[in-house]
Each structure stands twice: as C-alpha cells, then as structure tokens.
C-alpha cells in the first residue's frame, strides 16, 4: 500500500511543479517589434472597438505584434489596480489606457508618463484636435496622452412618447434649468411619478456637474478645477439649490441603480429624461429605437454651446520596453482611419476635427457637430477635470447629499475637497 501511495504523491508533486513552468507568451523585452497594450476593454462594444483598432494597427504596421494585456471587470477598477501594482514593480506596459485629463495627475506626479508634446507636433495633432481639447490635455506645458475617442457627458436622453403624452414638445429643449424644472413639474402633475431617472453615485456626480456648468458657465466651471473659481461662490450655491430641486423629481431608489438600470427606466416609459453620457446610445439602439423618433437628445438645459468631454486615451510609459512600437500604436489611434474604425464600433466620436460626419449614425452626427463648434470643458465624473482623490471626495459628498439633502454640508464638503486637493 505504501509504494503505490508514495508514487501517486510524487506524481502529484511533480504535476504541481510543472504547472509553475508555463511558457511566457507575453511581452519579450528583446523583441523590438512588439507592443503591449494595457486596457480594460475586455468585453462588449469596447472589445469590438479594440479589435477594430487592432485590425487597422496591423494594416498600418504589418511588422509589429500586438499583445493584448486587457484586464476585465469592475469597469476599469480591476485594471487600474493591476496597473498600479505593475508600475510599482517597475514592470510597466508599453502603453496603457487612462481617462484623458486630471485622472493622469497621479501618474504624472510619480514620473511614470512620458511627455508627448513632440509626438503631437510631428503628427500635426495640435492642428487637427480642437484647440480647447488640447488645452484641457496640457499639464504645465506638456501633453501626456493621446485620446482615441471622445464621449459627451452633458446630454439629456428623452422618451418622446412620455413627453408628448404630457403635452411637452420633445424636440424643443428647455431654455435653461428653471424652464426644465417647470417641465419636470408638468410631467409630475400629469402622472409621471419620477420624470428624471437617476442612478448611483457617479451618475449623480454627472448630473451635478451638468448643473454646475449651467449655473457657472463654461469658464466659471473650468475655473473650479484650477482654483480660479471659489467653491463657495454664489454660482455653486445656486447650483446646489437647482440640483436639490432636480432630485425631488427623481426615482427614490437611485442610490442602488447602475447607469443602465436608470436608462432602462426611460426605456420603460416610467421616466421622461435621463442625463447620461453618449454610451447610452447603445441601450437605445438595442431597444430598436430610432433617433428623433422614439427618443431624442439635446444638451442639458443651460449647457447649450458647451461640450462636456471625457476621453479614453493612451499614454507612453516611462521605461516602456518597446518604445518605438508603442509610438506606432499611438500613431494608429490618432490617425483618421484608426479613430474612424474604433469609434464606429464603440459608439463614440473621434477627437479629430477632420471627421466625415456622414459616416456616423444620427446621434453621433449631432455630437460631432457640437464638438467642432462648442467650448470643450472637462467632465468631473469621468476623470477629466479632477484627480482620482479629489473626485472621490466629491463623490462621497454628493452621495451624502443624496441621502440627507443637507445643502450646507455639501457645500462644506466641496470646499474641503478643493482645499485638500489644490493645497
């Protein structure tokens, strides 16, 4: 009995040892023609977009090998945690995905990103991207990322049927917040219990930033992030009052709803409006609805003429093992073909102003038009306006306000968050 038992035990031990000897098919520092691209686009329309982008990359750079280092789960939070540990261990990927704007502050301060201003000059990106976008991406004279797609965060998605039933013209956007609140009241009186659909903390933050833009204007709003506008400004107090009014018209269970559940309330006809970024377009398309037919969009009342941007972008790591191939990748994603392939698949719009709008579906055409004409401001809820720590503090204050409606506490929390971050 002992001999066969010890043989089995030995075989098991050997098997465990062999399991640790798996071959490494990943990034090889010796091979200069590889590029390891780290994203969180591992499923859904994002993966479709990434695949389309990789196809263009292979066409433009047939010698380079693309290594997909995407990490799934948590809408990017798993990927960010994995990225942080890789950067900590001095094993950076060649290029990684990050939201353009202030979310990069931590990486910039830690000296983990390379300056891409010369890349912008060489590829003429400073001319082909809108000036206000380049301004948003510039930190102390340097640019650290290349945006692959632009989303808009100040859009109201409206259910035309619900509005027509209540006697409101869905195609006519209300002139400002007060007119919109009057419409909301009209809807509630007509029997729509929760005219404005809302979701969990980051969607609340997105609604609040829309109200801030409406009440402070584009310059006032942008000044909040540089310290030019004080957070205890009268405009911010007005915004808090407006936001509180808007909350009275929302569904009471918003704290636990993800963004797609909130959009679903509009699709079900239980709400008329939802303020959401343009990734909501895919939800309406999947329901089989047609733009300007069953649903329509306009800029959040009071923010007409402003494009509240957020962008997925790619960076160049300091100490990237395959720098030349990484530059090839950045060239592809900023090229007209690359941006077209990616954005058609993902549902966002290119950052380039030389886009042919007719190639894109109806909603994207309105976004492209606005992007070309309007003032671009950075989105708070999506990492463009404030660093992770700052937006986390604001998120907690907004979540607290959603629970207890204490306006003084919210103002104090916003001021404290700004003081902590701006120093």
């Amino acid at each position: 009995m002992r001999k066969p038992l010890s043989i089995i035990a030995g075989a098991v031990a050997l098997g465990l040892v062999l399991a640790g000897c798996s071959s490494n098919t990943g990034s090889d520092p010796e091979n200069a023609n590889q590029v390891e691209v780290f994203t969180w686009w591992a499923s859904g329309s994002e993966k479709v977009g990434l695949d389309a982008l990789v196809k263009v990359f292979q066409e433009q750079n047939p010698d380079d090998e693309f290594i997909n280092a995407s990490v799934a789960g948590g809408a990017g939070s798993n990927a960010k945690a994995a990225l942080a540990s890789r950067l900590e261990a001095n094993n950076p990927p060649d290029t990684f995905q990050a939201h353009a704007g202030a979310e990069l502050t931590d990486y910039i301060n830690a000296g983990q990103l390379q300056d891409l201003s010369s890349f912008y000059q060489e590829n003429g990106l400073t001319d082909v991207f809108p000036a206000s976008l380049v301004e948003r991406l510039t930190v102390d004279g340097a640019i650290y990322s290349v945006p692959s797609n632009i989303h808009r965060a100040n859009v109201v998605w409206a259910n035309t049927q619900v509005l027509t039933d209540a006697g409101i013209d869905p195609m006519a956007a209300p002139a400002d917040l007060d007119a919109w609140i009057a419409d909301l009241k009209k809807l509630k009186d007509a029997g729509v219990e929760t005219p404005l659909a809302l979701g969990t903390e980051w969607t609340q933050m997105q609604l609040f930033e829309n109200v801030l833009i409406a009440d402070l204007g584009a310059d006032g709003y942008s000044g909040l992030w540089t310290g030019d506008t004080a957070w205890d400004d009268a405009g911010v107090e007005k915004a808090i009052a407006h936001y509180s009014e808007l909350l009275d018209y929302t569904n009471s269970d918003f704290a636990g709803l993800d963004w797609d559940a909130a959009t679903q309330i509009v699709l079900d006809g239980n709400a008329a409006y939802n303020v959401m970024g343009d990734w909501a377009e895919s939800a309406f398309q999947q329901a089989g609805w047609t733009y300007d037919n069953e649903y329509t969009t306009w800029a959040t009342p009071g923010t007409d003429g402003v494009f509240d941007f957020l962008a997925d972008s790619f960076t160049l790591s300091v100490g990237a093992p395959h720098e030349a191939a990484a530059i090839d990748w950045l060239t592809t994603i900023s090229s007209a073909d690359g941006q077209k392939a990616f954005n058609l698949a993902k549902g966002s719009i290119p950052a380039r102003t030389d886009t042919v709008a007719a190639d894109y579906p109806a909603y994207q055409q309105t976004a492209i038009k606005s992007f070309g004409e309007d003032t671009v401001v950075s989105s708070l809820a999506h990492g463009a306006a404030a660093s992770i720590a700052w937006s986390g503090d604001i998120s907690s204050a907004i979540g607290k306000f959603g629970a207890d409606r204490d306006a003084d506490s919210l103002l104090a929390g916003l001021v404290a968050a700004a003081d902590k971050s701006l120093g």
Binding site: D106, E193, S252, D253, I265, N270, I388, G399, K400
Partner: protein
C-alpha cells in the same frame, strides 16, 4: 522520554514551514502595512517622510470615517443580535426533538455554504428600495401578498438602513450559530436535567440555572466569531450596494481609498480594523488559554 532537541526537535521541524510562512506573509506584511500607515504616501509618489500617528488622528477627525463606524456599529448590533437569537431559537427547537431533525439542520446550515458575493447579488434584487409601481424584490412580494404597508426603502434609510444589510448576513450565519448551540445543548448530560426536574425545578428555572450556565462558553465563542466577522464585512456590502455613502463601512472605505491610490490612509484604516478585532479576540484567547490551563 527523549531529552533535549530529540524531544522538541522533530515537532518543531514539522511546524517550522508553517511558522515561517505565517511569519512572513501574515505578521511581516502586517508590519509593512503599519509602516505604510506611518508614512505620508497619499498617491503613487513614494513616501517621503515618517509622520507617526498623524494619519490616525486625521481619520478619526474625519466625518466620513465616523459615519462609516456608525454604519458598522448598527450592522454589528443587528447582525450579532439576529444570529444569536435565531441560532439559539433553532437549536433549542431542534433539541426539543422533532422528526427529520437532520433535514431541518441541513436547511438551516446550507446558506453558510454560499459565498457572500453570490447571495449578495440575489439580495441586491430582493432589497431593492423602489416602492409602489416600480417595486421589485421584497417590496413587490409584500405588495402582491396584500402587505403593501410593509414596503420600505430597506438600506436606503438614513441611520437604520444598515439593519437591512444585516438581513442577508443573519440568514447566512444564523445556521452556524445554531450548530454551535446545538452542540452545546447536546453536551449537557441528561442526568443533570433529570436531577434538576427531580428537585422540582420548573422549565424556566431549569433553563436559567442549569442549561444557560452550561451554554455560556458556547455563547461566548459564537459571539466572538460572529462579532469579528461583522467587523470585517466587505463583500456583502459591495455585492448589494457597491461602495456608496449610505452603506459605507470601514472596509469599503479602505477599498475606495486604495483605488484612489491613497496608500497611507487605507493602511491606517486597515490597522484600525485590526485593532478593533484584536480588542475582541485577544481577551477571549487569554480567557480560553487560562481555562485550558486550569483544566490541565
């Protein structure tokens, strides 16, 4: 009896891999964590100086952390109260004798085999706080049964909302406490009960003076185990509500701070949690060690 290292050598050799691994991966890393909490590393930039207890004073002065402690307190009270009550009740009823006792025991114990995340996903739907037309989950069930007045906003209630989060936790762990108490009941010799009855004790006096004192060590260990589980609650809350203000507890606050790259703060919260659990466990361990020594 062998003398010297021939006596304690082999046992030490057997245990030494475990001691080394625990020494590095548990106590060594706890030490590293405490070291980070004494630093000023609040972002990806490496730490520059030793700041002592400043981080600890900072979080206790923070309203958000105090709120998370309050949430934790409410959750702990309801969780411990619920599990002890139901655990004892079920154990007592099973001890009284019932047909198919094994079936009931298994049914009560099964929820413990489910991970908190899996049950959290289901309870997220059940505890949905919408009421009226858009109600789903428990609110919808109440409405359909004609018990519409029982609808409420569950965990969305400021202040006592955490009691709603305690519901799934109680459902999962009351069976475990029941198993502990059942073992305790079964451990009381039958002749003690008979002797008490022969001396003329009523049922209530029998429980109060004979059974409960015998059960108190079991109750104490159940209390300690359930107590330290409740202090660490994280996955249940993340599964039901993700990390939002209403249901924030220190463990989820730690996670949020970590994803914001505030290493010193999350290390501080982790150490504070460790100290809370230590306050609970260490006296208990001292007590059981003394009891064992007395028995020898």
């Amino acid at each position: 009896m062998k003398k010297g290292y021939k006596n304690w050598g082999p046992p030490l050799l057997l245990v030494s891999p475990t001691i080394i691994v625990i020494g590095i991966f548990v106590y060594g890393l706890i030490g590293a964590n405490i070291a980070v909490s004494f630093s000023n590393r609040h972002s990806l930039v490496p730490a520059t100086e030793f700041v002592g207890l400043e981080n600890y004073f900072a979080i206790f002065a923070e309203e958000r952390f105090i709120h998370s402690l309050q949430n934790l307190g409410v959750f702990t009270v309801f969780f411990i109260g619920g599990t002890m009550l139901f655990g004892f009740l079920w154990a007592w009823m099973l001890d009284k004798g019932v047909t198919a006792e094994g079936v009931f025991r298994s049914v009560f114990l099964f929820p413990m085999a489910i991970s908190f995340v899996a049950s959290g996903v289901v309870w997220r739907w059940l505890l949905n706080s919408a009421e009226g037309d858009r109600a789903s989950g428990l609110n919808r069930i109440f409405e359909n049964l004609g018990l519409g007045f029982l609808q409420n906003s569950w965990w969305n209630e400021p202040g006592w909302g955490m009691a709603a989060i305690a519901l799934p936790a109680i459902w999962q762990l009351a069976g475990y406490v029941m198993a502990l108490f059942l073992a305790g009941f079964r451990g009381i010799p039958a002749d003690l009960r008979e002797a008490a009855r022969m001396d003329g004790a009523t049922e209530w006096k029998l429980y109060r003076y004979v059974i409960f004192p015998q059960l108190s060590p079991v109750a104490l260990s159940a209390l300690i185990i359930v107590g330290h589980m409740s202090l660490k609650v994280f996955d249940l809350i993340m599964a039901i509500t993700k990390s939002i203000y209403q249901t924030e507890v220190p463990a989820t606050y730690l996670w949020v701070a970590l994803t914001a790259n505030d290493y010193a703060k999350s290390a501080t919260i982790a150490t504070v949690l460790l100290l809370f659990v230590a306050v609970l466990i260490v006296p208990y361990m001292v007590y059981t060690a003394r009891a064992e020594r007395k028995q020898r």
